[in-house]
């Protein structure tokens, strides 16, 4: 048995078994979640177009009327069709979290890989800064941003990106450190590849399963936090349709015996977040398995 040590070539592992394998390992819960997310995404794009009635037109005479005729979910506090507002609201409810996730991931991945690649004092400084950033809970930063820059989705989304970034960076730094100590990295360095190219073309792609899993779970958090900020009146502003806003503006109806508009918006949020949580957990499990 010859004992020649082979340096494995840089490996980018495709999902085991391809797409079919992905679907099989997701299980029923995973598939249903993926379907729910797909529906929500489609609605985020075409929501306002498929709404059966005008989501923005108030008609006070119809305020709080229950489900009737073609109005499956009844009317909200200003007489607008609830279903239409939900469909239209998907857009702002989904785009905000997307922006947060992209922002936090971009920043977090960059810092994590940088810290893991250079190590030494740079790593200590970055880690210390990240530790300090953990002092700011997301919602607090968003409220602060709203007070300073005025209420709105942009300020809130940026604030949340910054607040989430340390969590991403911590998880990815660990993974990046592991990747960095793999033999193929040493092989590439010896061949003269630059640090940047190794990071961009090998380390980051090999961390992709973990990054995607992290992104998925984070989308759920961002959705909850952004909806909360809108609920507080500091995010998306009424009368724009948004699930968080709908809950706060229809809340008085609950005490008067008309809980449906607020509850319907709440259910939309919960369903999408559960879907992202389940999918995120499955993806995490796959990412862990792939690393072994």
């Amino acid at each position: 048995m010859s004992a020649m040590i082979e340096v494995p070539a840089a490996r980018i592992r495709p999902a085991a078994g391809g797409v079919a394998g992905l679907l099989r390992s997701a299980g029923i819960a995973g598939l249903v979640s993926a379907a729910a997310i797909a529906v929500a995404t489609v609605l985020a794009v075409i929501g306002p177009l498929v709404a059966p009635y005008n989501p923005d037109l108030p008609s006070l005479g119809l305020a709080w009327v229950g489900p009737s005729g073609g109005h499956l979910l009844g009317f909200d506090f200003e007489g607008r069709d609830v279903l239409s507002r939900l469909l239209a609201g998907a857009q702002s409810s989904m785009i905000g979290p997307l922006a947060v996730v992209i922002g936090a991931l971009a920043l977090g991945t960059a810092l994590a890989v940088l810290a893991a690649w250079r190590q030494g004092p740079l790593d200590s400084v970055i880690s210390a800064c990240l530790d300090i950033l953990f002092a700011f809970p997301g919602i607090l930063l968003a409220v602060l941003a709203a007070a300073v820059f005025g209420a709105g989705l942009t300020a809130a989304a940026i604030a949340l990106s910054i607040a989430y970034m340390p969590y991403v960076a911590r998880v990815l730094r660990g993974a990046a450190l592991k990747e960095r100590s793999q033999p193929y990295v040493a092989a590439l360095e010896v061949q003269g590849a630059s640090g940047t190219s190794i990071c961009l073309r090998h380390i980051v792609p090999n961390m992709m399963p973990l990054i995607v899993a992290q992104a998925t779970i984070m989308f759920g958090w961002a959705m909850v936090d952004l909806a909360a900020v809108s609920f507080l009146g500091l995010g998306v502003q009424p009368p724009a349709p948004n699930w968080g806003v709908m809950i706060s503006e229809n809340q008085p109806g609950i005490l008067q015996g008309y809980p449906l508009p607020a509850l319907a918006a709440g259910i939309c949020i919960v369903v999408v977040v559960i879907a992202f949580n389940i999918l995120g957990e499955r993806l995490f499990a796959r990412a862990q398995a792939a690393r072994r």
Binding site: A128, F136, V143, A147, G233, Q251
Partner: protein, 316 residues
């Protein structure tokens, strides 16, 4: 060796607080316009009031000096004046602190008792108990506190009339009644996370080899669970519980708003809406300090529970 860890953690604590206070103070300068406009919240104030603001905030001095004065004042309990309420911010905070404190404490209790309890139950009794805990936590982890709030109000206030829907209540007893639904709403999603982590930790510990050693020596089941499984699982469980409870501080604002409680969080939100910057800064400072302190205590507990910890924080 433990002292090095403590000293390092203390240094991190102070650094976090300083940086956080700096960011909160610096928000004044991030605002569009100049500090005066920010402080007045865009209102037109008489010249005399503007001069008072200038003096109080030392606006004619360099930035760092201003920060120093602000911080010094804050440490002495002076957090400025609320533009909207024309009152001392510290006085208002002191008044509302108990509502928020009580709410967070109540919710923390629920999380610890129900969360950890159901997690242990699910881990040690596989079968129906386990599955039901798993399913329930999967759903409740995804329910944001304000959604939980409206559901609870709908079911328990409006339909069943068991609990009041809004407000604070007058006496201690009615306070507790008024805080019950908010506490549950606040605790619900954190409860799910704590239950899951507890379950995972206990299951993992039960599978460990040192438990096999104890079994082979005939240690009875009760002792086994208490001394070898739970005692070891206490480390990750405490960490997660601590972090979760710390995060309650921020989310309390949402619950207070939903239930119209006069807590710090609700006041913070109102101040943000009306651009009362002094109040926002003051309350943010208090909340961040509480958050950082709780996290530091969690790190300390972790070091106490795990004798292997010599250096570094739990973020290893």
């Amino acid at each position: 060796m433990r002292w090095r860890f403590l000293a390092r953690r203390l240094a991190m604590l102070v650094a976090s607080l300083l940086v956080a206070s700096f960011v909160i103070f610096g928000a004044l300068y991030l605002a569009p316009g100049n500090p005066i406009t920010a402080l007045s919240g865009g209102r037109a104030l008489p010249a005399a009031s503007l001069r008072v603001l200038e003096q109080r905030y030392h606006l004619n001095q360099p930035f760092l000096a201003q920060y120093w004065y602000w911080l010094d004042n804050a440490l002495h309990g002076n957090l400025g004046i609320s533009i909207t309420l024309q009152e001392n911010v510290s006085a208002v905070i002191a008044g509302r602190m108990w509502t928020t404190g009580g709410l967070v404490l109540y919710a923390a209790l629920i999380i610890l008792v129900v969360g950890i309890g159901s997690g242990i139950l699910a881990a040690l009794r596989p079968g129906i108990a386990d599955t039901s805990v798993l399913v329930t936590t999967a759903v409740s982890a995804a329910v944001p506190s304000f959604v939980a709030a409206i559901v609870l109000i709908t079911v328990f206030s409006v339909k069943l009339g068991w609990f009041p829907a809004l407000g604070n209540g007058t006496s201690l007893g009615s306070n507790v009644r008024h805080l019950t639904l908010p506490a549950i709403a606040l605790a619900l999603s954190s409860l799910a996370i704590v239950a899951r982590v507890t379950r995972a930790a206990v299951r993992e510990e039960a599978d460990r080899e040192h438990v096999q050693t104890a079994i082979s020596r005939g240690i009875p089941a009760r002792q086994l669970i208490r001394r070898h499984i739970l005692r070891n699982a206490a480390i990750p469980i405490t960490t997660v519980s601590g972090i979760t409870i710390a995060s309650l501080i921020a989310v309390a604002a949402v619950v207070e708003t939903a239930f119209s409680l006069n807590g710090l969080g609700a006041y913070l939100v109102q101040a943000a809406q009306s651009k009362d910057l002094a109040v926002v800064q003051g309350i943010s400072l208090v909340l961040v300090v509480a958050f950082v302190l709780i996290n530091a205590i969690v790190d300390l507990l972790y070091a106490l529970l795990d004798p292997r910890v010599a250096l570094g924080s739990r973020a290893q």
